[in-house]
Symmetry: C2
Subunit: 340 residues, 2 copies
């Protein structure tokens, strides 16, 4: 049942002939001041000698605090989301919290079921990287009274805190870059419109087009069904069929951009000689593809860190107001874009 050697506070107390509560206080930083110095010394030594580690379940039961948080990811193995997780783990573990991951993508159960399972484990908060623009999960968490922070993706109503990249600004960077290179007929491979990233980048695209006074009829938008290479290739083909004369495309995501590469190659078009391509995210290795992809860099690890910090502060000072943090992305010019 219990592993051998699981020392309890009681055993330490017996060893030293003191009361368990004294041991508890001596070992707890916030109550240590109540105990005599030499007693603390003796207790700490005994604890070390007996290999004592507090039973988190017992403490959690009594205090109602589990020091656990949950993280929902659409796909752990996606190079966009794994650095987010890494950033989250970095911050939370420093704060003494352990992180439970839920890979929603490969999960047979629904997100709601997963959420309730984590509620059963009394997680103190949730970080969601999975939400769509109008996600019922947010409402469910709120009615459970569970602190929630959204990361990477936000929802349309700003009901909870979020940390995202400035999607519209990223698009603006991409399009300004292409515009400076002389491109006027620019297409957009939009992401799924039910995700904030897809929606806001699309919106950013339109705004930038208008701001630069470009002809909307020459700046077609095609929506991808997902952030994948396959979907990107399909969308690129559609766009090519609609407007064969575009000289550049801006993808909503690097994988989509690489899908566009695939489609363009099949169509016999060269990047960047015949058409320029800009991605979004700056995933690992996109500097190694051929040609190296110009893209919008987002620090996903930093996104994760900020989200974790936000959640930690919401958990600790419960009053803290809802906040939305928007990080600025940057343009990385490589070789997939060229002067017209």
């Amino acid at each position: 049942m219990q592993r051998v050697g699981a020392t309890t506070i009681k055993q330490i107390a017996e060893e030293l002939g003191v009361h368990p509560s004294t041991v508890s206080r001596a070992l707890n930083p916030s109550t240590r001041r109540l105990i005599g110095k030499d007693t603390i010394e003796r207790i700490e030594q005994a604890a070390k000698k007996l290999g004592y580690y507090p039973n988190a379940a017992a403490a959690s039961l009594r205090t109602g605090r589990s020091k656990l948080i949950g993280v929902f990811l659409p796909d752990i193995s996606n190079p966009v989301f794994s650095p987010i997780l890494s950033g989250i783990a970095e911050v939370t573990s420093e704060a003494g919290f352990a992180t439970i991951v839920a890979d929603v993508g490969t999960e047979s159960r629904s997100q709601t079921e997963m959420m309730f399972e984590l509620v059963a484990r009394r997680v103190e908060g949730l970080i969601l990287a999975t939400v769509s623009r109008n996600d019922k999960l947010v409402q469910q968490c709120m009615s459970e009274g569970l602190p929630v922070v959204l990361v990477n993706r936000a929802e349309s109503q700003m009901r909870v805190s979020s940390v995202t990249s400035d999607d519209a600004y990223g698009m603006r960077l991409a399009i300004d870059h292409l515009h400076q290179l002389g491109h006027r007929r620019i297409g957009h491979l939009a992401g799924p419109q039910n995700l904030s990233t897809g929606y806001l980048r699309g919106k950013g695209f339109n705004e930038a087009i208008i701001a630069l006074g470009l002809d909307p009829s020459e700046t077609p938008v095609v929506e991808c069904s997902a952030y994948t290479r396959q979907a990107g290739a399909i969308a690129m083909n559609t766009l090519l069929a609609q407007k064969p004369h575009v000289t550049a495309v801006v993808a909503s995501n690097d994988l989509v951009a690489l899908g566009a590469y695939d489609a363009l190659q099949k169509a016999g078009l060269k990047v960047p000689d015949d058409i320029s391509v800009v991605g979004h995210n700056d995933m690992p290795l996109v500097d190694m593809v051929h040609p190296p992809l110009s893209t919008i860099r987002i620090s996903h690890r930093e996104l994760g860190r900020e989200a974790a910090r936000l959640l930690m502060s919401e958990i600790n000072h419960d009053g803290s107001a809802r906040r939305s943090i928007v990080l600025a992305p940057e343009l990385v010019v490589r070789s997939s874009t060229r002067k017209l």
Copy 2:
């Protein structure tokens, strides 16, 4: 403190005028047979109505089982390790276990400290993807009586179960391939020798060289300090300085191979015209680099799944013997290798 609305068994019992123990048994599949059918029905309805979710901490305290496992990764955001985590999460969550991740790479504390923190949380087992060939952490886990499974990397003494790819066989595949293409002077960019992957792939390299009767003085080996592009580039330069006449190199890892790409490009050598390159792992996107990388494919997700299955069975039937599972990798030929 405790979130509002955290219903307890007692509340359900009061609502229905039955004893808490009856509620507990009714809600627990393994004790349900002790309770009358209609009582079960009433209890289940009340539980749903009140939004009851069992307090995992309380159950864990009483039963000594936390339904938690821990996973140690050297780097979550590394595309080699994130699919492993994904595979683990898939299997464990199906078994009702939650997975706590520890990203050892970005962690300021030592692995030993992390381990004890997880012990405090009463995790029922650990999956380690971090161990070196001679890692004291394994010993420490063993003396804590904690079930452990190693994944991707094994240790030299087979003291605990492990799931790995057949590293030597993978090397054999790579070298047979190059040999068939006519290559005779083949170099090896070895991984860190304190990691089983680096060591075994190096060993596999040597064995294959001997088996094919190649001249060892024409098949140089250079060890990389890490599995990174930088280290790969440095090692490639060293190898080039030692034996400029090699016609092919086998890298211990895809990133190392890409580092070799960098170094070769700087040296004015073309892949595969001047020199063939083979990687190892088949990371995402290495089919998109220029030229597309021939490599040894490992299903990291499957590695994770198997490791999780192994751990689950060790946790459940405590008697189960130590086992080591070795998965066969496969050769993926792309365009970085060419007939001599």
